[in-house]
């Protein structure tokens, strides 16, 4: 048989072979090295431990968001799910007699179940009722943040079982839980049927449907996962604060989406991954941490962080052009 068609093999020019995660990771590294001499305490073990424990809950939530972004959607309700599961879990744990491990287990179960259910509901409304993702998750964000406040009359709920608090308060436990979830998700995205389907649905839902992909269930699963991940984040943070907090995660939404997008996820779907999101989370939390060590106010941090995220995104855009990932203009 003759040589297969075309594509002349000329010497390929130089092009970067690394992805978004490497670039963002490198940016984080450069930032750290540059800032460390000027910010005393940044490189101390204690601070690094702090940084790590701050980063883990965000990582879990952002990984959930990443799945939704890959499917071509967006989940604005993630932080509201955190708040409502936090108070619901706390109420259940206070209600179960004994305050022991049984109560803790019931609390965690309720939180995860509720988060997943709410996420699944979002997905259902989006796929079955054909409502826009933005609207569905925006309204559910409003509803569930309201619900969390209404349930508690804006009061925090104290007196949670010690077994539960140990989950979020213990760095080793947190680390194991997060690594397990994040690692399994990364593996699943690349190796499982569901993972490959998720990317296909994000790229072109019509082509996916015709190829026999159950588009609706895949999208619903992504939202359910995001809800579950938000609830797991809430378990860690609630345990750490030892209180059920009706405004838990109030400032997190932009960090969550920012981290995923920095790591290569796109609002148009089909792109992104766990590694990239992890790098994005690390970058954002590093900036946060260094600025608060400097004694900056919340608002200054927001402004600087916005600028840095933009700069990182610009750099990644440049990388894509070099790598030929964005050679548009195909007719």
């Amino acid at each position: 048989m003759r040589r297969a068609t075309t594509m002349p093999v000329f010497a390929p020019g130089w092009r970067p072979r690394w992805g978004s995660e490497c670039l963002i990771l490198a940016a984080g590294g450069v930032y750290f090295l540059a800032a460390a001499p000027f910010i005393p305490g940044l490189a101390s073990w204690e601070n690094l431990g702090n940084l790590l424990s701050n980063l883990l809950p965000l990582l879990v939530i952002a990984v959930g968001q990443t799945l939704v972004l890959i499917a071509g959607g967006i989940d604005l309700s993630a932080t509201a799910i955190m708040a409502v599961t936090s108070v619901a879990g706390a109420m259940v744990m206070r209600g179960v007699p004994g305050h022991g491990p049984v109560a803790a287990l019931a609390g965690v179960g309720v939180m995860l179940g509720m988060g997943t259910a709410v996420g699944w509901g979002n997905g259902f409304a989006i796929t079955r009722l054909r409502l826009p993702a933005f609207m569905v998750t925006l309204t559910s964000m409003m509803f569930f943040s309201g619900l969390a406040l209404w349930l508690t009359q804006s009061q925090k709920i104290n007196g949670l079982p010690a077994a539960f608090n140990a989950l979020g308060g213990n760095l080793a436990v947190e680390l194991i839980l997060t690594t397990a979830v994040v690692g399994l998700t990364a593996w699943g995205l690349g190796r499982l049927l569901a993972g490959r389907w998720l990317y296909a649905v994000g790229h072109n839902p019509r082509a996916a449907l015709i190829s026999g992909v159950p588009v609706g269930p895949v999208v619903m699963a992504a939202y359910a996962f995001s809800g579950g991940a938000a609830a797991l984040g809430a378990v860690l943070l609630t345990g750490r604060g030892e209180t059920g907090d009706p405004v838990l995660g109030r400032y997190l939404m932009l960090d969550v989406i920012g981290a995923a997008v920095l790591g290569g996820a796109s609002f148009f779907g089909g792109r992104g991954g766990v590694g990239g999101t992890a790098a994005g989370v690390l970058f954002i939390k590093l900036v946060d941490n260094s600025l608060s060590l400097q004694g900056c106010s919340h608002f200054t941090i927001m402004m600087v962080k916005g600028g840095l995220i933009l700069a990182a995104a610009l750099a990644d855009g440049g990388r894509r052009r070099l790598a030929g990932e964005d050679q548009g203009g195909r007719a």
Partner: protein, 501 residues
């Protein structure tokens, strides 16, 4: 008119075109031919301002010409009718035609709607499309969209019109209409560049020819100096094995009924369609544009629901089965809209190829993908459609149009379908590869697959099919056995207004 001087284009360091030098005299019609991926579309994208060259230059009417975008090319009088449709389904025909130049009330930002309708009507009349300009685009068939594209190109009153495979979605008769239009443009003194894999048409329509091979000019000269075999050998750089579709040897497809269709109707689309498709049979569907061929295919594949009628797959009813269930039960569908429905353009070639067959390679409760197994299965399928083996990691959108079509075909071959519906399967595929795809379709049938073939090319249908249905305005007007295949008879049955027995 236009002159290329050492023009060159690279993608991420890999040269796609060039260096290419040739010129086109004013008022002439240039035919541009070459295999899939030879660089035809890329060269025209340079001319049309969609891409910028990496080296070399162009001259337009004796003046340097370096467009920065399609809008600039338009202003210079160059119109480009792309290989793939670029229309907005959610807008009306008129809005699509005047997207960048709406008629306004004086210079205000308000659109002059009456004027819009009148202007759009005029343009549509020029291409012979009798439709209300305010019809939403997504109601149109692909062939009609093609005509709208041409009307859109005319809106700027261009000096040079580039046609990139305009006939690939048109039936013979509609193509003839297009050729008449082109003749009209020539009389008006416009230059034309015509890209097509239908070499007979190219020889007939063009004054000059340029043959591209692997991005370089492999031959050029007046059209009368060329013959089809010579063109093919220049395109391929070797003497071809087979060129014209050889007819399927007569045989008895006596397999069991694979797909039974009884009384299927859908208002405004198809009416009372009944036929049986047997295992090992190639059943063709002929018809004009808008006769309901693709619509019927969509109903069979479960993308649209029939209002009445019954479908059975291998004797078991298909009622209410989703697309996914159909795929699982061995149905496959190569759609005519490869970009919208056939491919995930941003995803890699390998991911696209694997998509439909993935469940077959998922192992265990967790449905883990058996990657070595998948990889091993991909290799022969890619070879079967002559896709380059090294294409795996590339995004599908960076393949040439014809190679994208091969990806869609290969994707379904991988599922080893029992019933395959092919809607224009060789659209945009070069002559050599087309013959091999015909062989492939025959091999599929010989292995027991039931094939339903929709095509606008009568030669393709008559060469491949065991039986032919002719669809006319949503109804079957003729069922012809192999011995009865006859151009005139098929056309008579396909033409609206006329009825054959």
């Amino acid at each position: 008119m236009i002159e290329f001087q050492g023009i060159e284009k690279r993608f991420a360091g890999v040269r796609a075109v060039g260096p290419v030098s040739f010129d086109l005299p004013p008022g002439a019609t240039l035919g541009l031919v070459g295999e899939n991926g030879a660089g035809k579309s890329t060269l025209m994208n340079l001319l049309g301002g969609n891409l910028q060259p990496d080296a070399g230059s162009m001259r337009l009417a004796e003046r340097p010409y370096a467009p920065h975008g399609p809008a600039e090319a338009m202003r210079c009088g160059i119109a480009f009718i792309h290989q793939e449709l670029n229309l907005f389904g959610n807008l009306t025909i008129a809005e699509n035609l005047f997207l960048t130049r709406f008629p306004r009330w004086w210079r205000s930002p308000f659109i002059y709607r009456t004027g819009l309708r009148a202007e759009a009507g005029k343009l549509l009349a020029q291409v012979g499309l009798e439709l209300d300009p305010h019809t939403p685009m997504d109601r149109l068939a692909v062939g009609e969209c093609q005509l709208v594209e041409i009307a859109k190109a005319l809106a700027g009153d261009p000096r040079l019109i580039i046609f990139d495979e305009p006939t690939s979605s048109l039936s013979t008769r509609e193509a003839e209409r297009l050729f008449a239009l082109m003749a009209g443009f020539r009389r008006q003194g416009r230059s034309l560049i015509y890209i097509s894999h239908a070499l007979g048409d190219v020889l007939r329509l063009c004054d000059d020819l340029v043959i591209l091979r692997d991005g370089l000019v492999a031959g050029r000269g007046p059209a009368r100096d060329f013959t089809i075999p010579r063109l093919i050998s220049l395109m391929a750089g070797r003497v071809p094995e087979a060129t014209a579709p050889a007819p399927t040897p007569p045989r008895e497809p006596a397999g069991a009924v694979a797909l039974a269709v009884r009384g299927v109707s859908r208002p405004g689309v198809v009416r009372d369609i009944s036929f049986e498709l047997r295992r090992g049979e190639i059943l063709g569907i002929a018809g004009m544009m808008g006769a309901g061929r693709s619509e019927l295919a969509r109903i069979l594949f479960g993308l649209d629901a029939p209002a009445a009628g019954e479908l059975r797959l291998h004797g078991r009813p298909l009622q209410g089965a989703t697309v996914r269930e159909r795929v699982r039960r061995g149905m496959a569908f190569v759609t005519e809209d490869r970009r919208g429905e056939g491919l995930c353009l941003e995803a890699s070639v390998a991911d696209n190829l694997a998509l439909a067959a993935l469940p077959a390679f998922a192992r265990g409760r967790a449905r883990r993908i058996d990657r070595p197994g998948l990889q091993a299965a991909l290799t022969p399928v890619k070879a079967a459609v002559r896709l380059t083996a090294d294409a795996d990691g590339r995004a599908v959108k960076t393949l040439s149009g014809g190679n994208q079509q091969k990806v869609v075909l290969a994707k379904w071959l991988l599922t080893k379908p029992g019933v395959i519906i092919l809607d224009e399967p060789t659209r945009g595929i070069d002559v050599g590869a087309k013959c091999e795809i015909h062989e492939l379709i025959r091999a599929l049938a010989a292995a027991g697959t039931a094939v339903l073939l929709i095509s606008s090319e009568l030669e393709e249908l008559t060469a491949l099919c065991d039986r032919l249905l002719v669809l006319n305005r949503g109804e079957i007007t003729a069922t012809l056995a192999r011995a009865e295949f006859d151009q005139a008879r098929i056309l008579a049955a396909a033409l609206p207004g006329e009825r054959s027995a």
